[in-house]
């Protein structure tokens, strides 16, 4: 289980708290606050959800009810490198499934999972709307069009090299 260290992330936590205070009286504030939290931490730490609950006066059970409904919210930190293979229709008919399987095989994880060394995550994604350049692979937020199965090994090698 991943432990969230409030001291270590003091600055980030402060940012969420400020945002929360500013917006708590706005109708429908929960979604924007959850989005802000996910943006800052890359996931929704339990400790932060508890703070949101106190601030907005919404039980954590309700917050989890909302957060689990939307696929972009996650409750575990992701790997350093985030790979997603678009499985929209245009990408699918151009072989995206094969590319995804190649990533899964080479990294030894399934879509939605993170490698044990937390270096790689394969993130689920919906159509990114860049269909004319299908198939699309997103690597750490950057879009790569006309991707091929052959580029998979190369990509993983490149990403492994950078940093630790």
């Amino acid at each position: 289980m991943f432990e969230f260290d409030k001291e270590q992330y003091k600055g980030e936590l402060g940012e969420v708290q400020d945002f929360m205070k500013k917006n708590k009286d706005m109708p429908g504030a929960l979604m924007p606050i959850l989005q802000k939290t996910q943006n800052i931490f890359g996931y929704l730490p339990r400790e932060v959800i508890e703070e949101i609950s106190t601030c907005l006066g919404i039980p954590t059970s309700k917050i989890y009810g909302v957060a689990t409904f939307y696929s972009q919210f996650t409750f575990e930190p992701k790997g350093k490198n985030q790979i997603s293979v678009c499985l929209g229709t245009a990408c699918y008919v151009k072989g995206a499934q094969g590319i995804l399987e190649e990533f899964e095989n080479q990294l030894g994880i399934k879509q939605g999972q993170t490698t044990s060394d937390r270096k790689f995550s394969i993130i689920e994604t919906r159509c990114l709307g860049d269909c004319a350049n299908a198939p699309i692979v997103t690597i750490n937020g950057e879009i790569h069009g006309h991707f091929t199965k052959k580029k998979v090994a190369e990509t993983i090698k490149e990403l492994s090299k950078e940093g630790v």
Binding site: F69, G88, T89, A90, C91, R126, C127, C131, A134
Partner: protein, 534 residues
């Protein structure tokens, strides 16, 4: 002048500013590659654009979306000006009604009638929502408008606000579109700074505010009431529509919800009149529609054409067909809610009613071209898997029905299907269509029902002969090496992960079918195309 010094525009100063900007804008466009600035309105040049009539996309790729002055210079906010100073609310609504514009998000509900519904509600708080939760895989026209011409969305919103008596609007954008969020955020800020949004717009008595709300990855939030639930901070599950949302919508107030493409047409309808809008399209589906022409087509991209153009013209004339050696099999329209249209029906006009008649829908305008290597059973399975994931779980026929249909289709694609399965698919499909609360469940079976209707022979081949005619279903396919073509280079043998390939150098190679795991490596590496998939 810098942004901080900007004073609020009035009707007069807006017209002056437009005049002032004209020469520099002309200069800028004259110098821009790929833009023809000799006509009435600048156009993108090239064969791909020749047959298009660009209205919703008129500024896309032409102006700088981060500069409000670019938009103003080309006549932007002239429609709003007219709506504020020359027209009564009812006149605006009548103009929209006369234009006959229908909801371009796919449902096709007449926009003017919707607006009238909200306008007829007693005075008080009313909301306008622009639906930018474009979730259909293969469709991205709303993204293009939001990123490439954000002020067209804002101007349309302000006009709608004026017409129905609303002072607050939301744009709901899906999380997968960060660039659209950036462009809209910037545009809202600019419009507020110069007085095109906010209090007393252009010095009139009309005030209107716009804020952005983001989705978080839930397809069903594209459904109007689910979207409202999401804005209110709850799970995005559709509501039972006891009343129309223009009577009771967001926070139980009268609410208009319009799609991005629809709202971006509004300013031009007011500026140029309903007649000009009707000059393109058919009597029942007037105007233009943006399609995302993608998949196995040579020229893929966004295409804006008059409603009623045939599929054939779109795929073959504008898209230039599928390329040599391949045959178009079908187009898929309407994403997970639409159907697959076989090539023999390609003379069908693309409008709301003609598509509904042949079991598909217009949807948001995704048009995915498929060729003879695409298996229709596999495509049906692909879409139903999407609906399984995205069903919110409220209605049993959708929540469980889509799952059962997915299981059956998986079985068929693995060669375990029976003819009874096809009957079950039809039954479950109709059940979900007839008994679900919202559009997702009501249309989730369309990809299955339409392929069963037009490509039943492919289903039967999977069921009876355990064969996938397209060669797409791996469990049913086998890779073989054509010994007449094989040059015996050994490339496939070296690449095979399970050592299923045997053969001598310069002699024909053979794949052992029992060992083969159908990874396709041999086919990828063969330099002479000797590996065949059947």
């Amino acid at each position: 002048m810098t942004t901080t010094e900007r004073t609020k525009l009035t009707r007069e100063s807006l017209a002056e500013l437009r005049k002032e900007l004209a020469p520099s804008m002309k200069e800028k466009l004259d110098a821009k590659d790929g833009v023809d600035n000799t006509g009435e309105y600048p156009r993108l040049t090239g064969k791909f654009y020749e047959k298009q009539i660009r209205r919703a996309l008129r500024n896309y790729g032409i102006i700088d979306p981060y500069e409000v002055n670019d938009y103003i210079a080309l006549g932007g906010y002239r429609g709003l000006e007219k709506a504020l100073f020359e027209m009564k609310s009812q006149e605006i609504i009548d103009e929209v009604k006369n234009a006959g514009i229908r909801g371009l998000g796919g449902a096709g509900f007449p926009t003017g009638i919707k607006w009238q519904g909200a306008a007829d509600q007693p005075e008080g708080k009313k909301y306008l929502i622009v639906n930018g939760d474009e979730g259909d895989p293969g469709a991205y026209m709303d993204r293009a408008v939001m990123e490439g011409d954000p002020h067209a969305v804002l101007e349309g919103m302000a006009i709608c606000g004026r017409a129905i008596g609303s002072d607050e609007g939301f744009i709901y954008v899906r999380a997968e579109y960060p660039t659209a969020v950036k462009a809209l955020t910037n545009a809202i800020k600019q419009a507020e700074e110069v007085g095109l949004l906010g209090d007393n717009i252009l010095g009139s008595d009309f005030s209107f505010r716009v804020s952005l709300r983001l989705g978080s990855g839930a397809f069903v939030c594209g459904e109007g009431t689910a979207l409202m639930e999401s804005i209110e901070g709850r799970r995005g599950m559709p509501r039972a529509k006891v009343q129309r949302t223009y009577v009771s919508g967001l926070w139980d107030k009268p609410t208009i919800i319009n799609n991005v493409e629809t709202i971006s047409n509004i300013a031009q309808i007011i500026d140029f009149g309903a007649g000009r809008f009707r000059s393109a399209g058919t009597p029942e589906s007037p105007g233009t529609k943006v399609f995302a022409l993608v998949g196995k087509v040579k020229n893929a991209g966004l295409v804006e054409v008059p409603m009623g153009i045939t599929i054939n013209e779109l795929v073959n004339d504008i898209g230039d067909g599928v390329g040599e050696g391949k045959k178009v099999k079908a187009v898929q329209t309407g994403g997970p809610s639409g159907g697959c249209i076989p090539s023999r029906l390609f003379d069908t006009p693309l409008d709301f009613d003609s598509l509904a008649k042949i079991g598909s829908i217009m949807g948001s305008g995704g048009l995915v071209v498929m060729d003879d290597t695409d298996c229709m059973v596999d495509i049906a399975r692909f879409f139903i898997e999407f609906s399984v994931d995205e069903s919110c779980g409220k209605c049993t026929p959708c929540r469980d029905g889509t799952m059962r249909m997915f299981e059956i289709l998986t079985r068929i694609t693995e060669g375990q299907g029976t003819e009874e399965d096809l009957e079950d698919l039809r039954f479950l499909g109709e059940l979900s269509t007839n008994t679900s609360l919202c559009g997702l469940g009501q249309t989730a079976a369309n990809p299955i029902l339409s392929t069963l209707q037009y490509f039943e022979d492919e289903y039967l081949a999977h069921v009876h002969e355990k064969n996938c005619p397209a060669g797409a279903c791996k469990a049913l396919a086998s890779y073989t090496i054509n010994k007449d073509i094989c040059i015996g280079c050994g490339a496939c043998k070296r690449k095979c992960p399970v050592e299923a390939i045997t053969g001598q150098v310069k002699g024909a190679h053979v794949i052992d079918q029992d060992t083969c795991i159908k990874c396709g490596n041999c086919m990828d590496v063969c330099p002479v195309g000797a590996v065949e998939l059947k």
